[in-house]
Symmetry: D3
Subunit: 161 residues, 6 copies
C-alpha cells in the first residue's frame, strides 16, 4: 500500500468553501497526500478565473505540506493516472448530491477500475453550503465569510467581482 | 406578535403559475400580509421581463388587499428586513424541491436568524406544475391556461412571446 | 385570525428529542399556542409508556405557558377540531422525511381542508437526530444526553429502561 | 387494441447511448412499432446537430423494421396525435430521473389524457450512463465507446467534435 | 406478440385502494388481460385476511372480464411463468416508491429475464394514497371511503375490523 | 498513520451478500485490516442466528488474512474504540440508503469524533441486492445463489430455513 496512498480531490471550486476545506482536512487522516485538482471546464461559465481559484485554495492549505493544489484538463481518471493517485476523494451532503456523485463515480470506475472513489460525509453545519450558493451571496452583495475558509478574505475575492 | 406577521413569498415567477397562486391564498390564513417579491436575477436568462412578471401577479391578486407585489434586488433576507417581514413563505412539491429549499432556507437562517422560512405543501393537483414547464408549453405553442391563474389570459402573455 | 392561531404538534415522541424541542420553540414565533399531542398508537410497539412520554415533554416546556401537552387517540385532524386548532406543525429533516410528511399532510387535507399543515426546517445540527436513533443509543447503553432536551436527565429515562 | 399499439420514445439523444438502445429493444416486446422522436429544442445548446443525431439512431436500428426514427417540433403529446401513437415510452434510472419524469408525464396526461406514458427500468449496468456524461467524456478526449451503441463508431462522432 | 400480452399486477392489497383500481383500469389499454395477484406473505402481519382481500378486488372488477383476481405463494416471477404472463405491472407514486420498485424490478429481471416490469404513474390526486394510510384511517375510526374503490363499502370492511 | 489503519465494517449480515463481499474486498485497497462486525440486535427479528451469520462470513474471507470476523454488542463507535479502529466502512447503493447512512454516520461522529465513516459505492450490478431481498427469495423457495458470495452454498443456509 506504500506507493499508492494519494488521493485526488477534484472540483471546480468556484469558489472554494469551508465545506471543501473540511473534507480535505479530514481526508488527511486517511491519505498521505491529497491533491486538490481544479478542473478547467471549457463549457461551464466561471465566476472566478482559474488562476484565482488555485491561488485561494493554496492560501487555505499553505500550512499543510501534504496538500498540493493543481489545475488539470481532460478526464479526471486520466489525471489520477498521471499523478499516481489510486483514489478520488469526494464529500457527500444531500441525496441529490449522492445521485450525481454515484453516476460520476460509476462512470469513472467503468473507465478506469484502478481508481477508487472514497466518500466522506460533510458535517451537518456545512451541509447547506455549496459554491453556487456562496457565489449567489457574493453577487448579491452579501457577507459570505461564514461559508468561506478562514484564510480567504473579502479582499481575496474583490479582485474578481 | 402584532407587528411582525408579514411574510415574503420570493421567486422569479417566470411566469406565475396556478401553484404559486394557491400557496399565497392559503398563506393568507396564516399571515396578515404577504408580499410577493419578484427577484431580479442578473445571471439568469429570463422568459418574461420583470415588469410583465410583476404586472401579471398584481392582476392575479387585485382582489386581495392583503397581498402586495414588488420586485427586489440583493439578498432575500435583506429584503425581508427592509419590509419588516419575519417570515419567508415557500411551497413544497417534490423531494428534489425540498433538498433545494432546505439549502436555501438554512443559508438564509445562517445569514439572518430573525427570518424564519415557513413551508406549505402544494396541492396534489398542482404538484407537477412549475414555471419552467409552463414556459416550455408556451414556447412549443401549447395551451398552458390550465396551469395559469384564472386572471392570466393568453393575451397577457402574447406581448412577450 | 384571532380565534384560530393554535397549532397542534403531533407525534409519538418516543422519546422527545432536542429536535422536537427546537421546532416547538421556533413555532411559538408563529402561533399563539402550541399543543404537543402525543398519539396513542395501539399498533406500534412503544419504548417509553405514554404517561412518561407526556411527563417528559411537560418538563421540557414547564417554563412556557403557551405550550400545552396532551395525549390523544383517533385521527389527528379530528383531534385538531376538538381543540380548535387550524394548524398542524411539523419539522422537516430529510428528503425521506419529506415524502412521508407529504403523504400524511395531503391525506389530512383530503379529510379536513380546514386544517393546514405548516412545516419548519430542522436546524442543520439536529438533522440527524430522531427518536428511533436516540432509542437505539439508550438501548445500547450509550450517552444520549446531547440529543435530548436539557431538562431531560438520565434519571428521567431510567424508570423505563 | 389493434390500431393503437404504437409508442413514441422521445428525447434529445445528444448523443444516443447504449441505455437508450436497450430501452427501445426491450420496448419492442410490448409495442408493435416504436418511433424514436428526436426533439428540436430551440432553447437548448446542442452538442451534435439534429441531422447527425437522427442519422446515428437510424444506424443503430437499421436492422429493426419496427423502429422508425424522426425529428419533431412542438409539444410531444401533439406529435403523438399526429403519428397515431397512444403511448410514450421512457426509461427510468434514478430517483432524480423519476421526479423529473413524473412531472413531465403528469403534465402530458393533463394536456392529453389519451396518451399514456409507460416506463421501463434501465438495466443496472446502464444506470449511470446519460447523454450528458457521454458528451463530457467525448469533450475531454476520453473513450466513450463502452457507453455508445455498438453500431456507433468514433468516426461517426468525429464529424461533429 | 399474440400469446404473451398478459400482465400480473402483484401486491398485498391490504386493503385495495382507489389508486390500485386506477392503475389496473389504465393498464387495460396496454394489456389484453391483467391478473391481480394477491401475495400470501407469511412473514407480514396482515390487516384483512387473504380471502377478504381477494373478494374485495373481485367486487371492484366484477364488470371487467379482462381482469382476473387470484392469490399466490412463492416468487412473483415463478407465478408469472405459471400463468403465462410476460409482464409485471406496477404503479409509481413517489421517489421512495421508485427506489423500492427498482430494487424489486431488477432482482426479478435477474431471476427471470423473460418477465418485464412495466410502470405507470399514479394520478396526482392518488399519489398520497397507500394501503397503510387507508388502514390507519380505518383503525382510527375515520372515513376512508374517498380512498377506496367505489364498489367497496364500509360494510365490506366491517367484517374484519 | 501507522497504528490506526483499521476499519470496522458493521452490519447485521442476515445473510451476507455478494454486495457486502465486494465492499470488503475493495476496502482492502484502502485499509490494512478490516473487521467485519456482526451486530447483535436484541430488538430485531433475525433470520439466521448470530453464530451462523459469523460462520458464513468467515467462510467467505477464509483466504484473506487481513479480514477478521467478530460479533459485538453495544454502540458501534464503542466497539471501534475497543478494537483500535479509526474508521467505519460502509457501502452506498441508493439515495434512500444514503439518507439512512448519513444519519447514522453523523450521530456516530457526534458521539465519537475520532471515528470517521468512509463510504464506497456498490457496483452497479449489485445495487439492487440487499439482505432483506435475499431473505425473501430464500423464504419463497427461490434460488438466491447469484446474490450470495461464491463460498456460500445452499447447504450452508439449509441448516437455518
Amino acid at each position: 500500500m506504500t506507493t499508492k496512498n494519494i488521493a485526488v480531490f477534484p472540483g471546480s471550486f468556484d469558489p472554494v468553501t469551508i465545506g471543501h476545506e473540511e473534507i480535505v482536512r479530514r481526508g488527511l487522516g486517511l491519505f498521505e497526500q491529497i491533491i486538490v485538482a481544479v478542473g478547467e471546464n471549457a463549457g461551464k461559465r466561471e465566476f472566478l478565473d482559474l488562476a484565482l481559484r488555485v491561488a485561494l485554495i493554496r492560501k487555505v492549505f499553505r500550512d499543510e505540506p501534504r496538500v498540493r493544489v493543481e489545475s488539470y484538463t481532460g478526464l479526471t481518471v486520466d489525471y489520477c493516472e498521471r499523478v499516481g493517485a489510486s483514489f478520488l476523494l469526494r464529500g457527500l451532503r444531500t441525496a441529490a448530491d449522492f445521485e450525481y456523485e454515484r453516476a460520476v463515480g460509476q462512470i469513472n470506475r467503468a473507465m478506469n477500475a484502478r481508481v477508487e472513489t472514497i466518500f466522506l460525509l460533510t458535517s451537518p453545519r456545512h451541509t447547506f453550503i455549496s459554491s453556487s450558493i456562496v457565489k449567489d451571496i457574493l453577487l448579491n452583495g452579501g457577507d459570505a465569510s461564514p461559508f468561506l475558509p478562514s484564510h480567504v478574505t473579502r479582499e481575496d475575492l474583490k479582485f474578481n467581482i
